[in-house]
Every structure is written in C-alpha cells, then in structure tokens.
C-alpha cells in the first residue's frame, strides 16, 4: 500500500492524487507533493494514480525563521 508522509495508507491505492488531496482537505495553495523522489506538478494531480509501492511526501509551509 502507498506510504504517505511516513504512514501506510491502504485506502489511497488506485485513487488519483487529486482525489486523495481533496478528500484529505489539503489546501492546494499551500502544498507540494513529491512522489518516489520526484516532484508532482499541480497540473498532474488528476492524472497521477497512486500505486501500492508509491512513497509520497505532501508538504506545506508552516511558521519558521
């Protein structure tokens, strides 16, 4: 199953990245996604289908110096 932000997420397999991001209520204006070490452009979320072996990092800006 796909691993997202360090956690195994069985329900993500076979879904599009766009669907997953929407379902999790991530804010599109404040995230970036890396899939298996490669950045996924926001225009490709729809066409990106999550695979069981995928490793994703979904990141956002937080307060920092």
């Amino acid at each position: 199953m796909a691993k997202i932000n360090g956690r195994a997420v069985p329900e993500a397999d076979g879904r599009s990245l766009a669907d997953y991001v929407k379902e999790q209520a991530y804010r599109l204006n404040n995230i970036a996604v890396e899939r298996n070490g490669e950045i996924v452009s926001k225009t490709d979320y729809e066409a990106t289908i999550l695979q069981p072996e995928d490793v994703l990092e979904i990141v956002q800006f937080v307060g920092g110096g």
């Binding site: 932000n5 360090g6 999790q24 209520a25 991530y26 804010r27 204006n29 404040n30 995230i31 970036a32 996604v33 890396e34 950045i39 452009s41 926001k42 990092e57 979904i58 990141v59 956002q60 800006f61 937080v62 307060g63 920092g64 110096g65």
Partner: protein, 261 residues
C-alpha cells in the same frame, strides 16, 4: 531616504526588516507583520497536516514576499530537495538556505551551504544563504551566485545580539552583496546597531515572538531598523578612544569669585 531600496534578485523592497514567522500563535502573526512593516517573511516547509487545520497562509498578507527556508536540511542535497518543493508550492523563487549538522548550537554548515547555493542559483532561485560569518565562505557564496549573505549575529533563538560583529563587518567591507544579519538579534538596540554598521537588512524572529507584547515589539524593531539605516546613511560621527572633545566653547568662562583666576 525615499529612493533607499533594498534589491534582492531584481526585486526591490523599501522595508529592511525580514520577519521570521516561527513560534507565534497564528492570530498574532498578522499584527506582527503589519507592525513590523515587513515585506519579506520567512517560512519553513514540513509534512502537511490533513484536515481543516489552521493554515499560516491565511494570516500572511498577500503583498508580502515569502522567503521559505531549508531548515531541517543536514546537507546540500537535502536543502536542494526542500528548496525545489518550496518553489513548487507556488510563491516564487526566493530561498533561504539553512543547513545544520550541529543540533546543540544550530550552527550552519558553511561548506554544504556553498554547494547548495551553487546548485540552486543555477536553477534560477534567488538564494539567500544563512552562514557562519567567515570572509572566505562569503566570497565563495558570492561566486556561487548568492543574492545576499546572511551571517549569524549569535546562535539561533539566543537573543544574544551581535556577538560576531567584527567578522560581519569584515564581510560588509569586502563582499559587494547585501549583508543581512540573521539569527541571534533579540532586541531593537541590537538590530539598530547592525543597521548602523551597514547591514542591508536585519532578520529577526525569536526576539519578537518571545516578547511580552508581540505587536509592540514588532513595531519597536521596525523603528530601530529605520533609525539604524538613517544613521548609517547619515555617516556616524567618529570615536575618540582616549581623551575627550568638549561640545561647549572652551573660552569666555566667568572669572572665579573674589578675583582668583
């Protein structure tokens, strides 16, 4: 003063106060930004939290330039990865490189910082490297394509002020890039002194975030930075190490009473 602007990577700013956004409760950030008059705000990149959690982007005015940092990076490759992801979020090409191997004092790794600067400048980033104030490294960063040099005044979050003053001054004298004093600046007086010395800007976070009254301290920093800049442009008066120089006329004294001279 009206035409006195700070230029970084082709962008111009009238404020010389770069505000860090860490350690605040979110409702205080907007007031801090407004009272600071800051046009550049730093941010960090972390794993996203799903759900409708409070989002820092809602509290930062739209006209403010975002300066993401690469905190968490322990080497150049990790910094490059964080920088690319930060750009992908979609707020521009600015990146503050921050690479630390030391977890006690949080001191930057100058060598890896030069390496990351070289890679990211080639990719079109406006690179602002945080560094330990060393002249040779500053020259290497300039040659690698940095848009500014950001030497530390003291360890991050320490509020100790311009501990490295003499070495920052050497960089200012020798490297023709904006020098922005970052880290350790805990009080307005310290920010003012950095500006008087000729810093192009001051970056502060903890000094404001840990103040009793955050918005008021943001404003105090703003005034101090403006005052320091004005003093620098005015050209501070000279220092006499030994002796004194009267400010009053040394002639025309009254005669001592009773006629004794």
């Amino acid at each position: 003063m009206e035409n006195d602007v700070l230029t970084l990577g082709g962008h111009t700013f009238t404020s010389r106060f770069i505000l860090g956004s860490g350690k605040y409760s979110l409702d205080l950030i907007r007031a801090a930004v407004e009272n600071a008059g800051a046009q550049i705000i730093t941010l960090a990149l972390r794993r996203a939290e799903s759900g409708e959690t409070a989002n820092i982007m809602d509290y930062i005015p739209d006209d403010v330039t975002l300066l993401p940092n690469t905190s968490g990076a322990r080497n150049a490759d990790e910094a490059v990865r964080i920088a690319r992801l930060s750009r992908e979020v979609g707020y521009g090409d600015f990146i503050k490189i921050e690479i630390m191997r030391d977890t006690k004092y949080l001191l930057p790794d100058n060598q890896e910082t030069v390496r990351a600067t070289e890679i990211l400048a080639k990719e079109g980033f406006i690179v602002m490297p945080y560094m330990y104030p060393d002249l040779n490294t500053a020259r290497d960063l300039r040659d690698a394509g940095a848009a500014s040099i950001m030497p530390l005044g003291a360890p991050i979050g320490s509020n100790k002020g311009l501990v490295t003053k003499d070495f920052i001054r050497i960089i200012m004298d020798e490297v023709d890039l904006p020098v922005i004093v970052d880290a350790g600046i805990g009080r307005p007086s310290q920010a003012c002194e950095a500006m008087e010395m000729g810093a192009a800007a001051v970056m502060a976070n903890t000094g404001i975030a840990t103040a009793g009254d955050v918005p008021a301290m943001a404003q105090a920093f703003r005034k101090a930075i403006e005052a320091g800049r004005e003093a620098y442009l005015a050209g501070p008066g000279r220092v006499i190490e030994h002796g004194a120089a009267a400010s009053d006329p040394l002639t025309g004294f009254l005669e001592a009473k009773g006629g004794e001279a």
